[in-house]
Symmetry: C2
Subunit: 157 residues, 2 copies
């Protein structure tokens, strides 16, 4: 069982990781070369949609952690960039389903591949167990806080 010294170290490390500088270092280079319509704001929406599949704006906003209004606006951008399509939900004509177009899907795949390559380069010298432990640790860390939720689909787009 982990003691408080470890917790303190983790707090420090996590704090560093979440600093804007380091978040940017991990993502900006990739996103700066992203196609029109994709940027720091819209990428999470795009990526979340790939993860969840066609979804309502509200559900998507909740997944990403932004306001519904933001999700709607960013969907506008992605839509005019041809990466996303709105279609009425056949089951509920109030609802609008947001779905990636083939181009949108291809974009997500390409961006993810680029990110993956960057990361692969960065962890190239690590032993496998170290990388695996990092992955497991992160997953443990972000799975727990979801105590309020039940459904836990993890479909990869």
């Amino acid at each position: 069982m982990a003691d408080t010294g470890l917790a303190r170290d983790l707090e420090q490390a996590l704090g560093q990781l979440l600093l804007r500088r380091n978040r940017s270092a991990l993502y900006d280079a990739v996103l700066d070369s992203a196609p029109t319509g994709v940027d720091r704001q819209t990428y999470p929406v795009l990526s979340g949609l790939a993860r969840l599949g066609p979804q309502s704006a509200a559900r998507l906003a909740d997944e990403v952690g932004i306001d519904r209004s933001g999700a709607s606006r960013y969907a506008d951008r992605l839509e005019s960039a041809g990466l996303l399509e709105r279609s009425p939900d056949p089951r509920d004509r109030r609802a609008t389903l947001l779905a990636l177009t083939p181009e949108g899907h291809a974009t997500v795949v390409k961006l993810r591949d680029t990110l993956t390559r960057h990361l692969a380069y960065r962890i190239a010298d690590w032993p496998d167990w170290q990388a695996q432990a990092l992955i497991d640790g992160i997953r443990l860390l972000i799975d727990e806080p979801r105590e309020g939720r039940e459904e836990q689909e993890e479909g990869v787009g």
Copy 2:
């Protein structure tokens, strides 16, 4: 040596962790109960100052990853909240040193302790090696991108 499958998993896990929702889950509860002047924007400045010791606004902004103007403005807030003091640098009268007041220092310590307690609770069931591997992994991940930099002081406030 880590292969690309691991990199892909890591990309997915990291992406999730950096989502606004999860970042918020880790920090918002603590920051919402923070004293006047401390919020999502000013906390990194406060914390960075504790880490680096008295520093110029420019250096601090670089550390946190925001613009100098932002650092200056957030310093204003922290200053009027009594958590930070500006003093002219005796070596260079252009420069202004930002330094925590005793109250500021106490605030950082308190907030860090709270964060640490939250994390300790969250990792309570983990085996030590898992927590340690997560910490090491994060540190490896954020140390590498600093290739452009030389100095690497790690003083804890």
